[in-house]
Symmetry: C2
């Protein structure tokens, strides 16, 4: 059955868009750069939220909700911050529409009398508004640390957008914390990056590198940005999450101070960290194939699809009755399972449909299976078929799903490792970057050099890996003495 | 201990604000009309979301997410709709800030070159953007019904705001559905109102009336608005949820059509329905007292607070050790429980603090309790003390919480019923409305008469109750023959 999906090797970008839209994860909206997240995509995001939220709470964080709007003057208070976001923000200037006629046609226009004294920016991120509240809430060292997280929508006016990967509005979480010492803040920022790494690998089955951004790639207003970076099947990198040591930059801008045990007033130390619906794009591009989505069982909205097969009406009734019983048993085990009872499409269509939607496991149930009291489990990963007896089906299915989750991560890690190379010379470097993948090369971070490299190779420093032993030698680009390797790639 | 809460009978409005801010549900923000929902309020809202979301899914709905922005022309397409929202909307006109100097001071202003061709409205509600997508997704009768819900933030530019009750930005859910027939749409709108009634009464312990709004109070663009109305302790009504039969108004405006089984194209029939963080305001005002919040166990972020009591260090260790064991047992039962280990405040302070935060049950655990292997459970409702043996504590606490949940609803219902009166004459009507409460009077709905009544009594028709037997007689205001009673009240 044709699914209208462009094959990956024909046009990867097209393949991506086809998979996202045909699998009904998302759709384009009439608002430029904004997308509609459809029920399949929303359920996936909710599962991801649940996983992350549990990890945030287990590390002592609480959720809160801050205003959508940020006064212009707040954004402007931290110099690098406003510089970073000024060129891509939605600005609210009026609060009423009034009816009028233009060229004899009735329409509505912003009422000039409703012009705001100070414009409001739709939050591109919430450091400024949140730390202005911290300034009210924090007095003593006893009030620290403050460990908050917010689930919210944010807006960054992007010129070139792609579903999930880069949209004007997106959904995310942003953690915001305040600490008494810089050391505590760094620990927090690193701890949350580790939460992201764990989530990416154990929930999404996406292997990631962890490390530090160079200054030219760090968050506008941060001292240091840590990140997780994943590799997509086309050899391009994707920044999947960031965690920032903000130092006292915002504490100074918003006068966030605490009185220490000895009575002295000190500025607090902040961190912020976030992941977004972009992770859905990463999921699609890391695991998907020419038949559609492939979703890891831990976050799949539907983990098991039962497809009944019949020829006669009598068979239909028997097969459906048994299918319902099996569905109920698997659901009672806590699995997300659907029985596909549609009678206007054939089993082949249903197979393809559930494959397109990325359901990890399909159970085929025909009259002969009913007779032998079994089902045939088909893996979305490689279509491996495993006959499973009805007795003990819950355990068999749960263990197939566990295995599939592990296989997905293994496959992605093998791909990633196979596409990661150490290079020594500039020629090797340029060639490797053109081939795609992660390229590890000795480098001395320098904004000008990075700009030149990007100009000539379209690649950027993705990160400087944590905790690597020193590996001195000449910088791959300038020949200057370098102490370690940075990881380069072309990136989304 | 002074909690700085104004007593209700001294200044009810002040009491409300004191309770909301002191209990740390929410705080004012630097953005006019917008509030910060603090962790206690956010956890409460998340519990309410979980309850409602389960009920939406049990009635066949799926979640989706649509853009924050609505093109101006979309809002304008349904005449009554734009009329209803034009005077209170946040309008985005620019997408870049640029640096400049004003009076020698560096600042940023909207870059005139980034003026949008068509202004975007921050959604006050999402009918228009959602039904424009329905037009793409719906072709055949097989695509119906569509049953969606969205959890989102919305913005209505309110001039006079109050925490939770009326804020410029608020959080809510909006259900949006499309059906093949008007009958199905009406059934859906009524079904979801019943979900709201069940949720208000069984989860929030807030008794509500259900019925229909008069035309002058209905949603802008609806054929009919159904609602649930609650009564607060000061005798004012609060609209706690609405469900709209939208007829084909939006289907016509956005050309949402389906082909029926015979091949004919027909417009769909829509419903929408929503409740918001306003429900938190209702909770506060329905159950709270001069000591603070009183939260129903089913939605309380903390259901049980264990307050350990000690004099000596030796006692402290024993009491805390036993307290932790009891906490872990109750948590294992699925209860949300905190052991208050703070050692910089005394037990009296802790009692007052957990009362302020509305925790339904407090367990007092002192050295003598440890000796006799019991705790004293204190109800937040009326400070009733119930000694509970450690053996079987889980069951005892669960059943105390169940009883408390039921008592809260009973108490609220008694108050509501005691403040509900049938009146026959205009004098009685005016007097009763001045006293507060629900006033039931025969009435012939009429926008002009309603405006006059509001002018003279500050009261509005809250609803016309469902399914009441005919009760003919003269309209309380005009003397015209009326068939039934409407419910009037002054309202939030």
């Amino acid at each position: 059955m044709a699914k209208d999906i462009t094959p990956r090797d024909q046009d990867y970008a097209r393949w991506y868009t086809d998979v996202v839209t045909r699998s009904t994860l998302a759709d384009y909206s009439p608002v430029k750069g904004c997308m509609v997240i459809r029920p399949h995509g929303t359920a996936l995001w909710e599962n991801m939220q649940r996983g992350l939220d549990g990890m945030f709470k287990a590390t002592g964080h609480e959720n809160a909700y801050f205003p959508l709007f940020i006064p212009k003057s707040f954004l402007a208070r931290e110099a690098e911050h406003v510089e970073g976001f000024a060129k891509e923000c939605a600005i609210v200037t009026h609060t009423r529409l009034k009816a009028t006629e233009i060229d004899g046609r009735r329409t509505v226009v912003p009422d000039p009398d409703s012009r705001l004294e100070e414009e409001l920016i739709v939050r591109p991120t919430s450091e400024t508004i949140i730390y202005s509240m911290f300034a009210r809430w924090i007095q003593s060292w006893r009030d620290l640390p403050i460990l908050l997280n917010q689930w919210a929508n944010v807006v960054r006016w992007e010129m070139r957008t792609r579903l999930f990967l880069r949209t004007t509005e997106f959904l995310w979480q942003e953690g915001h914390t305040a600490h008494a010492t810089h050391e505590e803040a760094i620990d927090e920022a690193r701890r949350m990056l580790e939460v992201y790494r764990t989530f990416a690998e154990e929930w999404l089955a996406i292997p990631v590198l962890t490390g530090t951004k160079t200054d030219s790639e760090k968050f506008a207003g941060a001292l240091t940005t840590y990140c997780i970076e994943a590799l997509m099947q086309d050899g391009k990198a994707l920044q999947a999450g960031t965690s920032h040591d903000l130092g006292q930059n915002f504490a100074r801008a918003f006068d966030v101070k605490y009185q220490d045990a000895s009575g002295r007033w000190e500025h607090v130390w902040n961190t912020s960290w976030g992941v977004s619906t972009r992770l859905i794009g990463a999921l699609v591009m890391c695991h998907g194939d020419d038949d559609g989505l492939v979703l890891p069982p831990r976050v799949a909205p539907v983990q098991v699809a039962i497809v009944p097969i019949w020829r006669s009406d009598a068979q239909r009734e028997t097969v459906l009755a048994e299918g319902r019983a099996l569905r109920d048993r698997l659901a009672a085990r806590g699995l997300s399972v659907r029985l596909d009872e549609r009678d206007n499409v054939n089993p082949g269509f249903k197979f393809a449909d559930w494959e397109l939607k990325g359901v990890p496991l399909r159970l085929e149930l025909g009259p002969r299976d009913v007779e032998s009291r079994q089902v045939v489990a088909v893996s979305r990963l490689d279509r491996t078929k495993t006959p499973c007896a009805w007795d003990g089906l819950e355990d068999a299915v749960a263990s197939l799903l566990d295995r599939l989750q592990a296989e997905l991560l293994d496959r992605a890690r093998e791909r990633r490792d196979a596409a990661t190379r150490d290079v020594e010379t500039r020629d090797e470097f340029v060639e490797a970057l053109a081939d795609g993948g992660f390229v590890r090369a000795r480098f001395v971070p320098d904004a000008e050099v990075e700009a030149q490299i990007q100009q000539e190779t379209k690649a950027t420093v993705r990160l400087i890996p944590f905790d690597e032993p020193d590996d001195p030698g000449p910088c791959v680009w300038t020949g200057r003495p370098a102490q370690r390797r940075a990881v380069f790639a072309r990136a989304y």
